[in-house]
Amino acid sequence: MKPDLAVEIAGIRMQNPVTTASGTFGYGFEYAKYVDLSRLGALTVKTITFDPRDGNPPPRIAETPSGMLNAVGLENPGVDRFITDVLPGLEELGIPVVVSIAGNTVEEYAALAERLDPAGGISAVEVNISCPNVKAGGIAFGTVPEMAAEVVKAVKAGFSRPVIAKLTPNVTDIRSIALAVAGAGADAISLINTLLGMSIDWRSRKPLLANVFGGLSGPAVKPVALRCVWQVFEAVSLPIIGMGGISSGADALEFILAGARAIAVGTANIVNPTAVTGVLDELEALLVQQGVRNVNELVGAAHR
């Protein structure tokens, strides 16, 4: 029997739990010839900032064992071009669209929220708080509970639909950040963003990335991501969108069992342009195999 795959995240109905991880799937169009985008549970697009950003100088990518580092530096066309050029195309897909936003100040986050609020076709914003807070000396917003809460509050104030907080794993205690954003009114939590890492080229005796540091993603980080989902599931009652190294239906199922109500496919898209529907198909097949009628039954089941 075909299992019921529909889930609800903060009032957004997804036809299945599978979305894309911000920044790994462009704005969707790039994958339209490989994937039937209308099959996704939701489309989460690359982080936008208020002003256009050039991003970091190349090289921006380095391969690591079962993973990769990226230092794209949030290259994007800025919120205005996003609204005029990209958003209209996304509306036509007929699936929920999640727009990821980032800023260097609380005001920038607030301004983004206000600019996006009147725009049509956005189901939720995902607040990427892994960015450095320029006013607090470059400490990432997502690493200090109070700062994370402040950003979420500012976005909630300006945006009338659901707000998802995306957490970084580069913290001593991810539960304290989750509690803070929950307290600030976040409607759901996405995790994890990338782990801070670097790579060195021993021939040139230099860091491989022009930016020195980059974000580690891919299968290598899966154990850390699962642990974060597990911890946050025990700490707060908000719905969780889990990600970090998911490249198969079994991976997706593990995140659901750990407590994720939805899951996002990230680096796997970069390896394989059909990864996201591959994960969806495999997940469905596994549920059929296991006789699961409704995927919601399994959310957090490994805690029981």
Binding site: G26, Y27, A62, V271
Partner: protein
Amino acid sequence: MSDLIAGETLALIHDAGVLANERVSDGVYRLILYAPDIVRAARPGQFVHLKLSHSTDPLLRRPFGIYGADLAAGTLEILYQVVGRGTKLLAGDRLGPVLSVLGPLGRGFTVPAPAAPVAVVAGGLGIAPLCFLLDELGAAGQDGVLFQGARTSDLILAGERVARTGFDRKTATDDGSAGFHGSVVELAAGELRRGRFSYVYAAGPALMLKALCKVMREAGVEGEVSLEQRMGCGVGACMCCSAAVHGYPRKYARVCADGPVFPAGEVVWE
């Protein structure tokens, strides 16, 4: 909108049978894949993105220019050099009977050339995509000269393939073991400056391309160069493969989708 939406080229992903994978020179191999659909769509200067293992390590695909595309046989040829883990696996004895191929990707060379005769300038493995270009320029009835450089005579590759295209070839080696003793840019510079060519195509190491672009600017000749950059997705989505090029909405273009071939005059060299 070219920076937001990938060009509407046809691209495919599928498992292609490995028909041959043979050593052609020191550390250089020729791979022949059975991939008729990709062959049908392939244009010179485009590339394919190969997954070299079934495991998560190495994780990423590897980009290779299209060396040859035989419509009748349905075969795609790649000429590659072993430089690191991925290419070592590709040349190794555990490759297996099929490879996952994504392609053809990117924007290739302009064919036919806007003007002839053309100078085609190849450095090292840069000869690979340029061979496919020579095939098509020849078919379009255009002519010119191939300037081919390499470290040493053994790496002046693809002799037979070039001969079949009918293009003249002038060679240069860093060690003087074949042809001109020096760089291929020095070799071509005189004729370029004398205005012998109306258009230039080039592929090779970044330093060579940079030097060539300088000569071209001085000589006032236009053309196209194929850039290499570390890549992620290969399909224009991840923004990992940037190179500074004029004429895009922001500072960087994506080598995988906006290139790998760019107008020579627009590339920003540091």
